[in-house]
């Protein structure tokens, strides 16, 4: 039973930490740009960009912010499941097998969510950032304007993408490795639940 409880605690801890991190990444800036020509901030969940003094409209970012709903739900889901199971355990409703299954589902959902986070960050970093006139030449009616590069500050979401999610080991991206690890971890509580199911049950009462 101790092994099952330890598994439960560690799996909830992993999914809670990763989900909270994913949730915070959705609301933290991917990139902040400060300059005379371009100014604004890009989040996974939205953006605000002024380019050459006017509000820019980036349809890709609008789409990404809608798709980030899946990311937010994928973070809320494990958090809610963890809260439910921990609440149940604290309240003394010891359906350990149920909680182990919930923990397993929570880890699997977190695994899927990591891949979605990776895809959305890649869409912004590889797809959108190169389209912004951060530097280079712009043709105007007065001549060629060589833009002064703005101050670009990359946020924690960018750092997470660049340092962990997109790094690959033997050609496998980090995001996929984390997901596979989480899925492998999700199988352990499920295995424990099966083991509990197979154990002989003892009933209280008169012999």
């Amino acid at each position: 039973m101790l092994r099952a409880r330890l598994l439960l605690a560690s799996s909830f801890l992993i999914s809670t930490v990763i989900s909270a991190l994913t949730m915070s990444v959705a609301w933290s800036p991917v990139v902040i740009v400060r300059g005379r020509n371009v100014e604004g901030v890009i989040y996974l969940s939205g953006y605000s960009l002024r380019i050459f003094g006017r509000e820019a409209v980036v349809r890709v970012l609008e789409s990404v912010s809608t798709l980030a709903l899946a990311l937010v739900m994928g973070s809320v889901f494990p958090l809610v499941l963890s809260a439910y199971s921990l609440g149940g355990l604290l309240a003394g409703r010891e359906r350990l097998r149920l909680h182990l299954e919930v923990a397993s589902a929570s880890l699997a959902v977190t695994a899927v969510n990591v891949t979605i986070l990776y895809s959305l960050l890649r869409a912004i970093i590889a797809g959108v950032l190169p389209l912004l006139p951060l530097k280079g030449i712009v043709d105007t009616l007065a001549g060629h304007l060589y833009l002064e590069p703005p101050l670009v500050v990359y946020g924690p979401a960018y750092a997470l993408y660049a340092r962990i999610l997109s790094r690959s080991v033997l050609g496998v991206p980090g995001a996929l490795l984390i997901s596979l690890g989480l899925i492998a971890a999700a199988s352990l509580p499920l295995y424990e639940a099966l083991r509990l199911e197979a154990e002989p049950r003892y009933t209280r009462g008169p012999q």
């Binding site: 980036v58 349809r59 789409s63 798709l67 899927v112 007065a142 001549g143 499920l190």
Partner: protein, 355 residues
């Protein structure tokens, strides 16, 4: 799935504002295959990217069909999409369900399904793994709805161009100053200089109001004057004017970048204008360079010789008068000779000298 498998009907959730106000983000659109409902200009259509197994499709309005290509555009986009082959037009949007209608319905249906599935089940009889699988599947179904029905709108970003224009270029021959007036849309000129086509660097003075004043050196203009040649046959009767364009490349260091601007400063080389005054002639030089003029005065009448002569180098943009003293009363012909753009020219003016 409908898009992926080219089914006759497909569902899509709008994710961007490109079709505002007709479609809003979150609206569910139901597309019927273009083979069944042929799209006409004005219809909202769904076209998909050419990648295999891709569900990346875009909901935009069909503007027109040109040959085997379709031109589409988001209602809120300023420009149409790049032309797409007609074969990529998959669906015509037949119905739109607003986000406030379909999302509550979907959630209610999903909740009803989950509640009905577990109602009456005894905990002890639920097979191990079913709870985990159900939870995971519920999440995957949600993801399938949000991601599977959605699309990433690949319309290019709508980005303002810097509002910079070259308003006017003027040249004052007397001061030899080229005035270049820009409209820089809020940018401030920090420092500027200009370069001629033969790489002579010229300092530019910044005048308030996005204006540059560039003083051309006299040597530069004299080089232009002496280097320019015209065909005598094409020169009209004096005083002729010949257009000269001086190309300058101005480099403006702005607050936010560097503007490299090609400027054409135009002015005319003008033949000296000669007019008769009492006892002589006045010669006007409108050019930004000095012009050497020789005046030969001949007494009118057959066989008369040269009565007098005078010559002068008239400075740039100034006037000179030739009034020889000691001329007897009578009529004289003043022949004003000069070299204009490599051609020897002269003008003759009759002058009456009174006693």
């Amino acid at each position: 799935m409908g898009k992926l498998l080219h089914l006759p009907v497909a569902f899509m959730v709008v994710t961007s504002n490109s079709m505002q106000p007709a479609l809003r983000p979150g609206d569910l659109v139901i597309g019927v295959s273009a083979r069944v409902l042929h799209p006409r200009p004005g219809d909202i259509v769904v076209w998909c990217l050419p990648k295999a197994l891709s569900t990346a499709c875009i909901v935009h309005r069909l503007l027109r069909v040109s040959g085997s290509y379709a031109i589409t555009k988001g209602d809120a986009n300023p420009r149409p999409d790049p032309p797409i082959p007609l074969t990529r037009l998959r669906y015509r949007v037949a119905l739109r369900v607003p986000v406030y209608a379909w999302v509550p319905l979907f959630i209610a249906a999903a909740a009803a399904y989950v509640v009905s599935s577990f109602r009456g089940l005894e905990w002890g009889r639920i097979p191990t793994g079913l709870v985990a699988l159900t939870l995971l599947l519920s999440y995957l179904i949600f993801d399938a709805v949000v991601i599977g029905l959605s699309y990433v709108d690949p319309s290019p970003p709508i980005i303002a161009r810097p509002n910079m224009t070259l308003e006017d270029v003027g040249f004052d021959p007397s001061s030899r100053i080229v005035t270049i007036h820009y409209s820089l849309g809020g940018y401030r000129i920090v420092v500027a200089y200009c370069v001629t086509s033969n790489y002579t660097a010229l300092k530019a003075r910044i005048v308030p109001g996005d204006t540059l004043a560039v003083k051309l050196p006299g040597q530069l203009l004299e080089r232009l004057w002496s280097g320019r040649r015209v065909d005598p046959a094409v020169l009209p009767k004096p005083p002729a004017r010949v257009l000269q364009i001086l190309k300058l490349t101005c480099v403006l260091r702005l607050s936010g970048g560097v503007l490299v601007s090609d400027v054409g400063a135009s002015f005319y080389w003008s033949e000296p204008r000669v007019r008769a005054v009492d006892g002589g002639v006045v010669v006007e030089n409108d050019n930004p360079v000095p012009v050497k003029v020789r005046v030969t005065i001949i007494k009118a009448g057959v066989g008369a010789g040269v009565a007098a002569a005078c010559s002068h180098v008239i400075p740039a943009a100034s006037t000179w008068s030739c009034r020889p003293s000691g001329l007897a009363p009578g009529t004289y012909r003043f022949v004003v000779s000069y070299r204009f753009l490599g051609v020897n020219r002269s003008q003759v003016v009759e002058v009456h000298v009174k006693g």
